[in-house]
Symmetry: C2
């Protein structure tokens, strides 16, 4: 169901008034750098209000406030710190259907998908609140003094992780909640103790503002320095670059295109003080169908594949853009089933006119490539920007030879590659660029082949899935949403899940400090009840007797 502008009727008790301005350190700030508007992608009509864009001077107000806020924010007690994150989640929920309606209007995404995404976002904030309460991320290590060691006594050395400093976060077009204003980057940076300057994606400015108010309110309610959070609107190519170049900023979180991500990486590396950029950029998310998987219900397999390809109009970081299927008769059956499955699919509104236009360009380039043949396509949607999903097929040698077949097409399109042998498949996997995910469809009879393929896949991706689909990323402690370049700028990290907090931390060691000069996390009597690595072994804390 496409949401039209008329359906945006604020609920009575939570009327949201969009100001059309940035929120700099808790205050509404009318930008002096021009204006932009969001569009309803289902109609290509502009949406009110227009949003003012900030000037470089206004940017500096936000980054200076973040720098000022850093000392008190990083010294926050875990109880208040966690409660602050919980409050953001509550405030987002309190915005109710107004928030969902505005997001639907600005993104064209279905209501149910947006409800799920909002719930994932609030769950994520609460998960990081738990991480802050538990405190393992503080990475306490203690090598106690050995005053009698010869030839020299050993000093007392204690280590903890401290936050890097103010973080710049860039909102993504395709996840107006989970990878935007209060998404995973913001949540993990705030949990680490880093103030956040958030640059909204211009495709959903109203959604960003509503969530921005939710964070600003939580900052106020917990008496934090207002510089802990700013929401800014501005052109990515100038204000975005200036934000990354700003000396107050110490790390960057980004989800978007490879071109934009690598531009930010270059700016960050060229600073007098280079800073880390965590950019999640592009991924084909290959699916490897092993021969045994074709013994089962081939129609169900094809249908699940097409659901993964076309869900959210294919605009997920983890949508499968490639499927490797065996050559031969059984593979032919799968290919035919894929063609039938896609034929029944309607196009859904894409996020923006620009994204829909890029999708058409990508599909045209692929379909114009010799040896690439169409497997099937769906039906164009009734709204604007809702192209018919399309699936193509090509033989493996063409895939190995032609880089065009390795390009990500953002949206509901995918390519089926037919392979002959497991050796061919390993060769193809080895030639892939870095990916977020790889998926194996297999049965027990395929285990030997899968075991041969897995070492290559481990080196190419951040997450390997068996007999599932890469879409629907589970937020938790074990998940990885990351992978080797160019899937992300830094394979050592994840942008989803609790491990994401590590991106914004660095270790400091304290040698022979008197106990009263040590931070609470390192004091001898362990007032925060933290797990500690003592002389190399983890030691569980005494249970806390305080009311929690």
């Amino acid at each position: 169901m496409a949401i039209t502008e008329n359906q945006y009727i604020p609920a009575k008790e939570t009327i949201v008034i969009l100001t059309g301005h940035s929120l700099i350190a808790g205050r509404s700030a009318a930008g002096t750098g021009g204006k932009t508007t969001g569009f309803n992608p289902a109609t290509n009509q502009p949406l009110n209000p227009a949003y003012t864009l900030i000037s470089p001077n206004q940017l500096q107000e936000a980054t200076s406030a973040a720098a000022e806020a850093f000392e008190s924010f990083r010294a926050l007690d875990p109880h208040t710190h966690a409660a602050f994150l919980d409050s953001i989640a509550e405030n987002i929920e309190a915005a109710g259907d107004d928030l969902l309606a505005r997001a639907a209007l600005e993104t064209g995404l279905p209501w149910a998908r947006l409800e799920t995404e909002r719930s994932r976002t609030t769950k994520q904030l609460r998960l990081f609140a738990d991480v802050v309460r538990q405190g393992d991320f503080r990475g306490v290590r203690i090598d106690p003094a050995q005053p009698d060691r010869t030839p020299l006594p050993r000093p007392d050395i204690r280590q903890r992780q401290i936050p890097l400093g103010p973080v710049a976060v860039f909102g993504a077009s395709n996840f107006p909640f989970a990878f935007s204003t209060a998404g995973g980057d913001t949540a993990s940076a705030l949990a680490a103790g880093c103030p956040v300057v958030f640059k909204a994606h211009n495709a959903h400015p109203g959604t960003s503002e509503i969530v921005g108010h939710a964070i600003t309110q939580a900052v106020k309610d917990h008496g934090l320095h207002p510089g802990v959070f700013s929401l800014i609107y501005g052109p990515g190519s100038s204000i975005g670059q200036a934000l990354v170049a700003d000396p107050a900023i110490k790390a960057v979180g980004f989800t978007g295109s490879r071109a934009a991500g690598t531009a930010l990486m270059r700016t960050a590396a060229a600073r007098p003080e280079p800073i880390p950029v965590y950019a999640e950029m592009s991924s084909l998310n290959p699916v490897f169908v092993l021969p045994g998987a074709l013994d089962g219900d081939v129609d169900a397999l094809a249908s699940q594949y097409i659901t993964a390809v076309t869900g959210s109009s294919g605009q997920l970081c983890t949508s499968p853009g490639l499927l490797f299927a065996p050559a031969g008769e059984a593979g032919d059956k799968l290919a035919a089933a894929v063609g039938r499955a896609v034929a029944g699919c309607s196009g859904q509104t894409m996020l923006t006119q620009g994204i829909a236009s890029a999708w058409h360009q990508g599909v045209d380039a692929l379909s114009g490539t010799p040896a690439v043949t169409p497997l099937g396509h769906g039906i164009e949607g009734e709204t604007q920007n809702a192209p018919a999903p399309a699936v193509f097929e090509a033989p493996l040698p063409e895939f190995l030879a032609n880089p065009v077949l390795h390009d990500e097409i953002f949206g509901a399109a995918s390519l089926v590659i037919r392979y002959e042998t497991i050796e061919d498949l390993i060769r193809a996997a080895a030639q892939l660029e870095g990916q977020l995910t790889a998926t194996l469809q297999l049965t027990e009879s395929d285990h030997d082949e899968a075991a041969r393929l897995l070492p290559t896949l481990e080196r190419k991706v951040g997450r390997i899935i068996v007999n599932g689909w890469p879409t629907g990323v589970e937020v938790g402690h074990a998940v990885i949403h990351g992978g080797p370049y160019p899937a992300t700028s830094d394979s050592r990290t994840t942008s989803v899940g609790t491990l994401a907090i590590n991106r914004f931390l660095r270790p400091v060691a304290y040698q022979n400090l008197p106990d009263e000069l040590l931070p609470p996390a390192l004091q001898e009597n362990n007032p925060w009840h933290l797990i500690r690595r003592i002389d190399g072994s983890l030691v569980m804390p005494e249970p806390s007797h305080a009311a929690s």
Copy 2:
């Protein structure tokens, strides 16, 4: 005591024959790219043998072999893996006095210092062997399946850390053992499961070769792929850059100058696939003397400071190049005591003629600066390249205004800055570039001032020391030898201590894999007896019943 060439008499049972060639994947490889020789810095005489330099093609042999070795090396069982690291330590010890004699000859460093450094190096290798046996670095996380969860069942997701791939390590001039062939970068990369291509520092080629043989022998004795380790000689500006640009290399460890380190950072960032560079580059290691510390034995304080400044001819990454002392009478007494202490110091042979010449340039620049006055200097040594240690003094406003006073002088020189108030001191600390260490000299009466200064120091350094000295880095679990740029290229890491292994790892998640397709570290019955984070909480392993 300076070691002359004649004193290099191999012990009978461990005759070391230096070949003068690289060791590429276990084989001696005569370089086709010219020759270099080491020098005895005490005499400026060249040392035999000359060392052949490799060509770009030969470099590719080393990196290709490392890439080939990676799969089997990273799959090694922990028992063999740890025994391999232990064997390197044993083989280094077996090289006996020959190794120390050659190192003394090539570096001019005193015998006792070299003995200590060798012991630190072998201890470090054995510490990483313990890390491999224990396995916490594998970072196992398990979020078990919840098949009955609504609206959607939760999949089983398991995470572990895997090694990045082949690592390029650059030897440092100033630590021929601990930051060279089998030093901290090599030890932590090998412990992570990464093959190493080691580029020797041309100032101690013979020492590098002896240690290279120790590693190569261990590779052979444990039946590992010979590509696990290569030792190469070549010019840093061409072969070193080519090594970092080589697509087989996935990370870089470096200790040296800021100019060389930042050049490698640029090369790594400009690759089609950018890779992390862990460069430890420069540090002034400021010492902050708080007023109360002057109530004690000022002569002892001055003497300890000068020992830290002049030890190893001041050629330590952690030598204090700055000391902040109070203005006024008590501070004057300290300054006078520093002058007396340095006057009694003899110059010691520096590592190379080039390093001694750079020291002279730095000292000339400092002493030629208005408002910088000499506090005292020592006596020139009897060997070549043994300049007289020198200490200067300047008022704080000059330090705040003039960047020349922030430049590192590598060698036995230091600068005393006189400050008026704690506010001044905080201002000076805030203006410092990133440092490896900061040291506080204080008594209990200074705790309030120290508490005000500490938050600024935490943001500037990797290690804070109270009432000690930054030199003499303790290898353990809690130490940090790192710090914000430009002390290092990456403040999130350390190059000393067990945390250094994290530099060479990245996480991979496995979703719904059948147990027999999971790596041992993640299998349900926990065959490697690893600590595991299950649903967010650490769970200790069942004790192992296997003989260890």
